[in-house]
Amino acid sequence: MTCADRLTTQAYFDGEIEAAAAAGIERHVAQCADCRALLKDLEQTRAAIRNMAQQDAPPALRARILRSIDEEAAAATSRSGPLPWRTRPFWLGAFGGAAGAAMAAMLAWYTLYPAIGNPLLDDLMTSHVRSLMPSHLIDVASTDQHTVKPWFAGHADVSPVVADFAPQGYTLVGGRADYFAHQRSAVVVYQHGPHVINVFSWAGNRRQVPADTTRNGYRMMFWEVGDLNYCAVSDTGWDELSALVHLLQQSSARDKRDSN
């Protein structure tokens, strides 16, 4: 028989579970023969792999790399003028071309290939639930939008609207970067009474955002601003959620006016 909690047991084995939650898993493992066997397998696999001889970079390769970096650094200092690409070897151009073609192919794949089911909803759901586990909620803790917003510049591929709505009952508590929709998306975290609201944002690739929906009891509201897609996820009621969405949309509109 296969235990449904195997992924959790694996996460426990990998040290991804907080001490408080780990106690519960240990109790489960004590009673579940399947998970006990799994833990033993995981330990053996890990020991075997970590016991393998691992090779370090050969000295000759290391020397070659250092030399090429020195050349690159020297070239960068000497060419203070324009057209830096002229000094680069041909294969770099070829390499860039190949990378460009590959990217174009991937883009075509993602835009042309019809979505099967909607993995996006599952990803958002998973990310929200995981964020509620201890210490996974925020990477940058701050109630100051001027701290959270610049933080995204270094950690996410998008720059969403960030504002504190504490007077209206939605306190900005921080931000986090999460991977889904094939990019580093930005998550802004709000506290509303006892509820946590995750506001996800990602570049939309001109695909329509899904309709608002409920998954596992969590409500998800979608909207878009320009080429950015947003989704607010929480266990609050629809009214509370849409009030925050409304505030965020107003804030986006204000940002846009200011920048014009």
């Binding site: 694996q10 696999t45 016991n51 393998m52 390499f95 590959a102 599952d122 270094g154």
Partner: protein, 181 residues
């Protein structure tokens, strides 16, 4: 400019061995791995300014992975047969390493070669998460960042990689026993 070189040496160069190991597991031959690592290091140096603080190792491994994917597509190689090269495994290494599990202590060079072959035969997206977790000791979030998939996918790929490796290992051992008989 020299400052950039110095910072690169302090922050990125310590991860060269990790980059090399990862490239070895991703690419098809040690020569390919050399090329991939060299390209990756040069690219890393050029875009070093985009590494803002944080996690240099994840950042470098992401570049290695991208370089490998590009090289792979460029070459459109024939299907590869993963055969560990002779010098890959130093005989006796496994005997020296200490581990509490007696089953593992007795792992000989032959078994190490088998394990290398089985890992190389895993689907690439399974193999890379396994290598990042077990050999590079990255956490789920870092693996998700490097491989560009959600954490849930990392978890399920890791589970499948580990289960696949174990079942192949058992099959292999049984096969050997049959051969002996």
């Amino acid at each position: 400019m020299d400052d950039k070189r110095g910072r690169f040496e302090a922050q990125v160069l310590p991860h060269l061995d990790a980059a090399y190991r990862f490239a070895r597991w991703l690419s098809h031959s040690s020569a390919d791995a050399d090329d991939v690592v060299q390209e990756a290091m040069l690219r890393a140096f050029r875009s070093f300014d985009s590494l803002r603080g944080s996690d240099a190792k994840s950042w470098l491994l992401t570049i290695v992975r991208n370089c490998n994917a590009t090289a792979h597509r460029r070459q459109q190689r024939r299907a590869w047969v993963p055969l560990p090269e002779e010098h890959d495994v130093e005989d006796g290494h496994a005997m020296i390493a200490s581990t509490p599990d007696p089953e593992i202590v007795s792992m000989c060079a032959e078994q190490e070669r088998t394990l290398t072959r089985l890992m190389a035969a895993l689907p690439e997206d399974h193999r890379e998460v396994l290598v990042l977790r077990e050999i590079e000791d990255m956490d789920y979030r870092q693996i998700a960042n490097i491989t560009n998939v959600p954490i849930g996918t990392v978890m399920s790929r890791l589970a499948r990689a580990r289960a696949g490796l174990k079942s192949q290992w058992l099959k292999d051992v049984e096969g050997e026993l049959r051969d002996v008989r």
